[in-house]
């Protein structure tokens, strides 16, 4: 007769996760990578947005003094903004591409998990 504890031990072993699972480890690593990037992007936005707001607020009082200096810059201002935004977008995309196992199909995982992910998992 089998010892009941031996039987339980045998059954526990059957539903245990594998001891080594590189796919799982990579999935965790990828999720952490994405989280880290979001954090970095958040940090950039966190200082850039208030800086822009302050500049916007104080601009009327600075404008008269800065007018002579900015005569040329006013014309290239929009171009500078476009260049800066493009660089920021490239930097974000480059960081995302360096996450292990990342592909653009996984962008959905930047959203909180919910019905959408479940449906996507089901369709895969």
């Amino acid at each position: 007769m089998t010892n009941p504890d031996d039987k339980l031990a045998r059954l526990w072993a059957m539903d245990a996760a594998p001891e080594v699972d590189p796919a799982f480890e990579q999935a965790v690593s990828a999720r952490i990578g994405r989280r880290q990037i979001l954090r970095e992007i958040g940090e950039v936005v966190a200082w850039a947005a208030p800086a822009a707001a302050v500049t916007w607020a104080v601009w009327p009082s600075l404008a008269p003094a800065a007018q002579p200096l900015l005569q040329g810059a006013i014309q290239i201002g929009p171009v500078l903004v476009i260049i800066a935004s493009t660089l920021f977008a490239f930097w974000s995309a480059a960081r995302l591409l360096h996450v292990p196992g990342f592909d653009f199909g996984e962008l959905e995982y930047l959203l909180p998990r919910g019905r959408f992910h479940r449906e996507a998992d089901r369709l895969r």
Binding site: A16, A17, D21, R31, I32, R35
Partner: protein, 179 residues
Amino acid sequence: MNLIDLDTVLVEEARRGSAQAFDRLVAKHQQAVRSFLRRVTGDWADADDLAQDAFVAAWSGLDSYKGASSVRSWLCAIAWRKALSYQRSSSRRAVRDRAWLEGVQTAVGPGAEDQIALARALEALPIEQRAVVSLCLAAEFSHSEAAEALGLPLGTIKSHVTRGRAKLLEVLGDGDDQS
């Protein structure tokens, strides 16, 4: 260097930003965390999702590890909180129950009958008792380690172990053998 010391060193290195150190922690403890969640949730796919969430939460909260318990207990404590919130979410639970039933119905192979019986027996236990049984009987956690991981008093852990084991053996047809 024993295992707990190595874990503490890895946590320290991960806190300083070493991704490799955290990867090693994941590699070392993924089996314990995933097995625990599989037994608590009854659904392997959801358990793996929750385990990933737990490791991401552990990475975000590395500073919260004070070294008072083992890293394994700390990770299982995070996994336990994830499992509880999963349990509270009724819609996810409904999906899980359906998936679990499908899993039960399609289990095949040697020992499948016993495996189904074990899954049913675990499902019948209250979630706390299931968690205690999963840690103490299946993963060989000490009672105090399980108490730390689940945030339960030691006496509760001991009583859950005794009652949970008795119920499992009863369902598995060995109820007469247990003392």
